[in-house]
Symmetry: C2
Subunit: 209 residues, 2 copies
């Protein structure tokens, strides 16, 4: 069985939890608290030298990192991971876009504004740049979604999951999606997908019920 090393309030970790839930894959979860230094211990750095979650243990001692690579591993062989040459490239294109043009800004804003107490004051100098670049990324997404229901392959895929991870948190970290109707409609489409779970869903909660 897989073990997911995860932080609950992380859009990157949520991507993996969402895909695992929708594919009905059972897994153990280890919750880590970045603010308590739990991703900086020698043990964790041995699993992932970059000190980031999520990490997926797929076999004893075999650890995979980077949320979007984990999505390809989890979803490989299912319709969520398109393998047609053009569809696969298009899914990858949007997933690299997410990690290069969206996550660095929206992820940072979410972390400092909602996870770290007093983070807004600490990062005041950077916030304007994050907002500007985040809105640039939303502009690119809006243009695509104006004429497409999903990001790749004409249906719901891990490219949507990757972009949903932080986009659905935009309103929690100062972003206003009023001017992006196609993104708002897409967010609703994602929630409507079979087996969707929200970010605060935790696999351990099921066991307790």
């Amino acid at each position: 069985m897989y073990t997911l090393y995860s932080m609950q309030r992380s859009g990157n970790c949520y991507k993996a939890r969402l895909a695992l839930a929708q594919l009905g894959i059972a897994y153990d979860i280890v919750d880590l608290d970045l603010l308590k230094g739990e991703t900086r211990t020698p043990e964790f750095l041995a699993m992932n030298p970059s000190g980031r979650v999520p990490v997926l243990e797929v076999a004893p001692g075999r650890y995979l990192s980077e949320s979007n690579a984990i999505l390809w591993y989890i979803a490989g062989g299912t319709p969520l991971a398109p393998e047609d040459r053009i569809d696969r490239t298009t899914a990858l294109q949007w997933m690299f876009f997410e990690q290069n043009s969206l996550e660095p800004y929206l992820g940072a804003a979410f972390f400092w504004l909602t996870v770290v107490k007093g983070g807004r004051e600490l990062q005041m100098h950077a916030l304007e740049d994050w907002m500007e670049k985040g809105y640039q990324a939303f502009g690119v997404m809006e243009k695509h979604l104006a004429t497409n229901d999903f990001f790749a392959a004409g249906h719901y895929t891990i490219a949507d999951i990757a972009l949903y991870g932080y986009t659905h948190l935009a309103h929690e970290c100062d972003f206003e999606l009023e001017a992006f109707p196609a993104i708002r409609a897409w967010l609703n489409r994602i929630v409507d997908q079979p087996g969707h779970v929200p970010m605060d869903w935790h696999p351990a909660a099921e066991a307790v019920e």
Copy 2:
């Protein structure tokens, strides 16, 4: 025949040129100058709404963007693009790492210090952060390369090409690789790969010879 929209002094564009050269794939090239606004014209934004190079036209009117997605398209079906489940995930892991943890800092430093005249003065406030995060990424790469010759699948793949794109330019933008012997040895291994071409190589030069 493919058409590559490319800027010569871009590590991201070089990745595509290097893979195309090593795979012996013929293509047309259109050189664009970002500093002259050539990636911000309505025509170019219609090809890639994010306004970035490289863009690969793979069929009339069918444009692919994001350098690392383009690498998967170009190299698909060759040993450069591993398809074994774990090897593919490992290659993707390092390619997402590159776009999230290395390129934003090293790419920015290279652009502002070597491409834009007076860029150092303009970006003095950001440079320290780029250097710190760039060195963090080199630390992660060094750890991997201390016990591995390549980044994925035990041989040269597009993950190496992705990371080579900007890492080989480190010395041009203030980074010092003295403390990273495994990275330096890997840089030499990449240059030794069959069909390697340097960044200043241009396909049009072949036609002139």
